[in-house]
Subunit: 233 residues, 2 copies
Amino acid sequence: VPSEYPPFAVTVDLVVLTVAAGQLRVLLVQRGGEPFRGRWALPGGFVDIDEDLSDAAGRELAEETGLAEPAGHLEQLASYGAPGRDPRGRVVTVAYLALLPDLPRPVAGTDAAAARWRPVADVAGGEAAGDLAFDHDRILADGVERARSKLEYTPLATAFCPPEFTVAQVRAVYEAMWGVPLDPRTFHRKVTSTPGFVVPTGAMAQRGAGRPARLYQPGPAQRLHPPLLRREP
Amino acid sequence: VPSEYPPFAVTVDLVVLTVAAGQLRVLLVQRGGEPFRGRWALPGGFVDIDEDLSDAAGRELAEETGLAEPAGHLEQLASYGAPGRDPRGRVVTVAYLALLPDLPRPVAGTDAAAARWRPVADVAGGEAAGDLAFDHDRILADGVERARSKLEYTPLATAFCPPEFTVAQVRAVYEAMWGVPLDPRTFHRKVTSTPGFVVPTGAMAQRGAGRPARLYQPGPAQRLHPPLLRREP
DNA sequence: TCAAAAGTGTTCGTAATACACCCATGG
DNA sequence: CCATGGGTGTATTACGAACACTTTTGA
């Protein structure tokens, strides 16, 4: 440990997003200790001294959600290190963005009083904005913006779906994320004709009404050509 | 300073790119002290204890290049914190990406033996790859990839140009970045018809041969609609 | 008057959208 | 047999690439 250099603490914070009931939701925890006791915050914690950043993010995600991210997606978002952002001292946080399938009910981890899925519209957009601890409102906004724009040119929407899914489930992700209804037929053709986006498994979904849908898995593509654009004239 | 938490050092490292003589180039410094003395590395340094991350990046950029980034663009790239990446101890670095106009000759800052613009193709792509200090090869690759892809859907190419520039200069940026020749006429129409990309200043460029070109400034757009796609079927 | 570079008009093929229509199931 | 949602065929439109052509300078 280089003691001749300014000492920092380093944390990871997680923007964990899912889509449930047609709404984009974020995982929040209620802080059990100081500072900001009782306030809602993004899940996160200190990085161990011999731990890689991405390992710390995966560990915190497992601790806070109870699941070891079998499906889903985890990527680094950005780092935040303004001098006054943490009253305990000089703390730099590396934020990660996680996209998960539907909602396994979260369990409150260590030093968290509670853990809940909250609609992003209630936390970030509405009049109740600005009530998260630290600078987590800003981090959340950045995470949502990143996720929204990545849907346009990557196949990341499948990270919000279970391992096998229908085209309609993918469409629900886009509709929740962008807040606009999409034509089911045009959307179906776009998804199935973009090479590497999804691959059929051969199985069919069984549910209530209507013709059964084909099931798909995420395809090998890393980027979408052409991108799935949302129009804004 | 929270002494009950694992102590880290935090640095900023800079991927400073420019386009000169039809080539994408990166600013490298030769290390004057240990570790990696004599090796080439990205410019960077330790963050002061009461200094914001972006301020540290701007300070290092000014120190290493001599100019206070009047034009150009500076954005956070990513953070790197693998436990063994710095032999001095546990150091997390926050990398920034800077895009600058042409090449004011760099000056070697404190504890740097030399500073030079090097073609990215010589450092990252060729057989001489892998010779930068620390994990800077990886950071450079990430920065170049980020810059390349952002050219597609943002007006950031103008950050490589002087305050007033011609369409041909913008085209030279894309051609250097993507390594493909572009049709001047199609490119001209694309740039001038994309709303908010560039705005004419009214002045004309004066040079040697051919009809004088109109001069433009960067426009107000933050994203390009439609994106300037490079095709790869 | 020629070369070189800037900028415009026009054509043409492709690709995206909208929507009509058919398919397969549950009630 | 009707409602519901899944999936395909097709026409129209719009956009992007290519390239002929005009403009404006220096030599």
